[in-house]
Symmetry: C2
Subunit: 308 residues, 2 copies
């Protein structure tokens, strides 16, 4: 799957991923109204609104991008109907041949991590039949429980040709509270980064490992060090745009081949129509605003990489 | 909710929680057959088997115990139907007046943690209506992202009178890989424990905070130290029984009032009929074996607390 991701990045010249993290207040009035008129002001109605919103954004951007990253929390908050919209979104993205990174940040002790891996990137046995319940291509994983919490995900990746992005240094303001603490003179995130490199060593695609890392765009200096510590790992970089990261901050996440990183933007793309810059599209043409924001993001990153 | 949990612990004399983590191979043949004959060998069939299995165990133990802890991964691995069985289980436990600890180990950056909190222990707004999608009473939270990843959960707890158990020192063999690393001469889990105490300070029930911690039974010496560092926090202790912890190892997790901790057993209870000790019940009477295992666990822990 890492090779497919790379192939698609090369084809689109876009090392980016669109974060499908639909908050209700991003979803234009007309879509909400239509969904509520059909399903009432119910969880089903909210899920329908999310799905219609996603679908339109996917339809307007899929030819420009290699991948999407639905954040499962935004669906899970609407319970079962919300999770059905998550699944519908994943399936639709596959129809459009997009690589799907499930931003699930799961992680537990061995047998429990195995169950998460099975549900999201693996297959589960029911009697004599086999099912792939959520069928994402990559998932994000929380490493706090250590190797035996991560390994079951790695094993499922190996069997199913899927991939992981493991949290190393997250983009949020408090991420330093534990991640930056010094251990033998080095921050914890470096130790986690080294582990990611180690876990990924035997999981190679053609040039890159399918065991990647998450490193926030908001910490470019740390990204520079982590890039070196995990030379074969793809880095998923959240925090571009709305969270404050800019193209120029991101160049150190990439290798000379212009690969090795994929930059996520969520709000900046899916709620672009709410920004002054794209206000001219109006609520009605929100997905065209998203397309314009994708084009601008690709340009910003390409320019930064050219000037590297 | 912490006060309700304590009240129920006092009433049952059982500081224990039954982990509803149904693996397919724990579920007796007759239940699987019946479910598959009705729904086929489908995810729905698996979910039905899980639900029937849980229901029987709940029916045979609810009067002895204060709380249950369904592990969401075991449901999530069967996709949407599995999560419907999770929800059905939570609802049924509420009907039986059990406290429900959702073992979800979520944790993300602020707005995303807020969405998880909303979905699991809070309420979500849809138009003019309000829903409580999963409606657990407590959830487990992963702290790797720091304060701003945890605070949204704390805020929802305060509003909704719910509670948390935050991962401090997990029960698995590799938990030391990051959690035990020395920072200024002290292990990371102690720093996390101090944070738990700090987060919980303004979240007090009558005697205990509703912001608790997870500390594995498999590390009793660390439990002793953490008990002191988080004097007002309830500690959820996994790893009893199948993972190797015994009653005598657990006494240091408790205060003199015999409160302050709640010990989880999953496999040891729900798959008790597979143990030699309870084999006499046979597959057919698996839930009676579970009841006997609950009684034995309560006795083991009571005895250990008396001899403390």
């Amino acid at each position: 799957m890492i090779d497919k991701l790379i192939e698609k990045i090369k084809k689109t010249h876009a090392p980016i991923v669109v974060g499908l993290d639909p908050m209700m207040n991003y979803i234009p009035e007309q879509i909400q109204k239509k969904a509520f008129s059909e399903y009432g002001e119910t969880l089903e109605g909210a899920a329908e609104a999310i799905w219609q919103f996603n679908k339109e954004i996917i339809d307007h951007t899929y030819d420009l991008i290699p991948a999407v990253k639905p954040q499962i929390a935004m669906y899970e908050q609407f319970g079962i109907p919300g999770l059905m919209a998550f699944k519908k979104t994943v399936d639709y993205c596959h129809e459009k041949d997009l690589v799907v990174i499930g931003d699930i940040k799961r992680g537990d002790i061995g047998s429990t991590s195995a169950a998460y891996a099975t549900g999201h990137i693996g297959t589960v046995q029911v009697g004599s039949k086999t099912y792939a319940p959520f069928a994402e291509d990559f998932v994000t994983v929380n490493p706090y429980l250590g190797t035996d919490g991560v390994k079951p995900f790695v094993e499922v990746c190996r069997e199913q040709k899927k991939g992981l992005f493991i949290l190393v240094k997250t983009s949020n303001p408090s991420s330093g509270e534990f991640q930056d603490r010094q251990i033998d003179g080095r921050p914890l995130y470096e130790l986690v980064g080294e582990k990611v490199a180690e876990w990924g060593k035997d999981c190679m695609g053609e040039k890159y490992s399918y065991i990647g890392a998450v490193v926030g765009a908001t910490y470019p200096e740390m990204g520079k060090i982590l890039r070196k510590l995990m030379p074969k790992s793809f880095i998923l970089v959240p925090g571009y745009g709305a969270q404050g990261g800019k193209g120029a901050d991101l160049v150190h996440f990439f290798h000379e081949d212009r690969l090795g990183a994929i930059v996520n933007s969520s709000r900046g793309i899916i709620a672009a129509y709410k920004q002054e810059e794209y206000a001219k599209y109006g609520e009605e043409h929100f997905a065209e605003a998203s397309r314009a924001a994708v084009e601008a993001m690709i340009k910003d990153i390409s320019l930064a990489l050219e000037n590297k």
